[in-house]
Amino acid sequence: MITRHSAIIAVALLGLVTAPALLAQVGVFRSRVELVRVDVAVTRDGRPVTGLGTRDFDLSDNGVRQTVAQVLLEQVPVDLHMVLDTSSSLRGERLTRLQAAARRLLGGLRPGDRAALWTFSHRVSARHPLAADLALVSNAVTSMEGEGWTALFDAVFDVCLSPPDPERRAAAILLTDGMDTMSWLTPDHALASARRSPIIYYVVFEPPATQGGRAPVENDRFLKSLADDTGGRVWPVSATADLADAFGRIVEDITMRYVLVYEPTGVQGDGWHAIDVRLKSGRRGDVTARPGYLRQ
């Protein structure tokens, strides 16, 4: 019998990695020590800030100051999930524009990074699995076409089930007009799943013209929460905006994120751990990170 209690405590520990995964990279951690890895974006005037180290961050776990043991920037390869709304509104010029933007996105990844292509209308499709050969993913982009209704919440859920690779960072770019019309799951279910997943969501929100440029309030909240709760961002774009430029900036943002590693000290117990990450006094920049993680 699955009980509500066991369902809650059985969730995955977000951002928590076991030592062997990082030992190979940094070589300073004891085995069987739990390390928490926090994916952080630092920007100034909308552009990534580079050159930061352990002494530039203040980090607390459940209110207890932690020592940042390591700051990784380019050492951790990225697994990027492109999650694209291909419902019936995606036709003609809009489709061409999206395909060009997706290729720009793939072109911004570094050697060793991987990409996957997901599309969703009323059906969710894993069009190409994570692959280091980005040309294959680019070919899959060419075969996209728009039809049908929108199962946004189900798509987010399905992507979140992707098995995580502890040696890589996982991010998703979700492009949608925000109008879910066909999901089995509720937005709350999809959000809860996203919070338990290590994937960071960048939401590119293109408001539908039929709604006067606004998504229904609930969906609007869903998209914002999806980005906020996973440490990502919402990028609103207009129908005439340069989508390729937006995607180019997002991939730059993703690849220039820092990974802060720390061994939780002075904090015990399972459950929700709130994380607060800031730049130390005197450093300028805006920090974006997950608000916390669930410890099993």
Partner: protein, 409 residues
């Protein structure tokens, strides 16, 4: 965003049924060039030709000819048929509407244009002509009443009101139009209280409307019928229980109650209608009457001959088990649904969600992965849950088939 290609199969069926009434003799009259004149003896603009076709030859044959002639150019077809229908209406209505066959021809034309427009996702044209057809229908009723009182025999119908209502209830529509469809549903259900098809179709729309209201921000409900729909007797009666408008809560519960009433009426008229049984179960389940709901769904899941209905019964039962925190029962129900239709995504997502919440991430991924292959989108049948959420009954294709038979009669 939502779109309209989803029910093209149903639309094709209607169109196919309309086209198949064309007899061999008329095929010989149709020119080989698909854009040429539909009827050899007709002259003038395409609209005038279409009108002539209706006046000079058998009306159903003419309709089939015009549709076939213009199939290659949907815009021209809609314009042509639309023009013909409005000319017929304009020339006959002011004269007192005594020529019932011509008025009915206009009704047929409008209905056929609506079907054609539906086939090609021209939603505005579809609804424009369904509205026009409805006005003609009211005129037919008036003429019939006059003839009836004068002792005239009732003329044969090309499209009887019941069939027209069924068509209007079964055609796909976007959520924005749900209010108008709801009005039609109320009117149709009141006119045909013992008709299982009508009651099921109307109940489905009530159910969809209840769902839609639930999704709206607090306090906002689908509004009352638009003024253009309240001209005729019967609509206002239907509007009385629709009630409500924006920023009120009056309609929050009534659509669900109406859906319950109509599904019960369907089952009373025909106990073999398992779709009404499973929909009634679902509505009762959402109304916290979960024990009778699960009984109904169990019966539908066990006895329905249609695998899609058995699938829906199982997945809907699973959702009720979830509401009761009966996770093992939910998992069993979803697994049964997957066993019935392994390629349908909704049951896989539903089961995976239960597993993921239990911390069984790998199991959840193993459940959804087989349904995510890109080839599936074209090669596999649609998930019945998608159709269910759109409102029209799963039985719609069978109902439309019977409707086609009625149109041919």
């Amino acid at each position: 965003m939502q779109g309209g290609t989803f029910t093209a199969a149903g639309a094709s069926l209607i169109l196919g049924l309309v086209l198949c009434v064309q007899p061999p003799a008329f095929v010989a009259m149709a020119p080989s060039d698909s854009r040429a004149t539909p009827v050899a003896s007709s002259q003038g603009s395409p609209i005038e030709q279409a009108v002539a076709a209706y006046r000079e030859s058998d009306q159903m044959q003419a309709a089939a000819s015009v549709l076939r002639w213009s199939e290659a150019d949907i815009d021209a077809a809609v314009q042509t048929l639309s023009g013909a229908a409005f000319i017929l209406a304009r020339t006959k209505y002011p004269a007192g509407g005594t020529d019932l066959s011509d008025i009915e021809a206009a009704l047929v034309l409008h209905t056929h244009v609506a079907v054609l427009a539906m086939e090609y996702d021209l939603h505005q044209a579809m609804w424009s002509h369904l509205r026009a057809a409805r006005q003609v229908l009211a005129l037919v009723d008036q003429v019939e009443r006059r003839r009836g009182s004068a002792g005239f025999p009732r003329l044969p119908r090309l499209v009887a009101p019941r069939e027209w209502y069924l068509l209007a209830l079964l055609v796909p529509a976007r959520h924005m139009l749900i209010d108008e469809r709801g009005t039609l549903a109320a009117e149709a259900a009141d006119r045909f209280p013992l008709d299982a098809d009508i009651q099921l179709a109307a109940g489905c729309l009530d159910e969809t409307r209840a769902d839609f209201n639930q999704q709206l921000p607090s306090g906002i409900r689908v509004g009352p019928p638009r003024a253009t729909w309240t001209d005729d007797p019967g609509v206002t009666g239907g509007a009385a229980y629709w009630g409500g408008d924006r920023l009120t809560r009056r309609t929050q519960a009534t659509p669900r109650e109406e859906a319950t009433r109509r599904f019960r009426a369907t089952l009373a008229a025909d106990p073999r209608r398992h779709e009404a049984r499973l929909r009634l179960g679902r509505v009762l389940g959402l109304s916290k009457q979960r024990t009778p709901a699960l009984d109904l769904l169990e019966q539908a899941g066990r006895d329905a001959p249609d695998s899609r209905l058995r699938y829906l019964a199982r997945i809907l039962a699973g959702s009720i088990f979830e509401l009761e925190d009966r996770w093992n029962d939910a998992e069993r129900a979803y697994r049964k649904a997957i066993g019935i239709l392994p390629d349908a995504q909704s049951a896989r997502v539903a089961l995976a969600s239960v597993l993921e919440r239990a911390g069984r991430q790998a199991d959840a991924n193993a459940v959804v992965a087989p349904g995510l292959t890109p080839d599936a989108s074209s090669a596999l049948p649609a998930d019945p849950m998608w159709t269910y959420r759109l409102g029209p009954p799963i039985d719609g294709v069978a109902i439309l088939s019977r409707l086609g038979t009625a149109v041919r009669r």
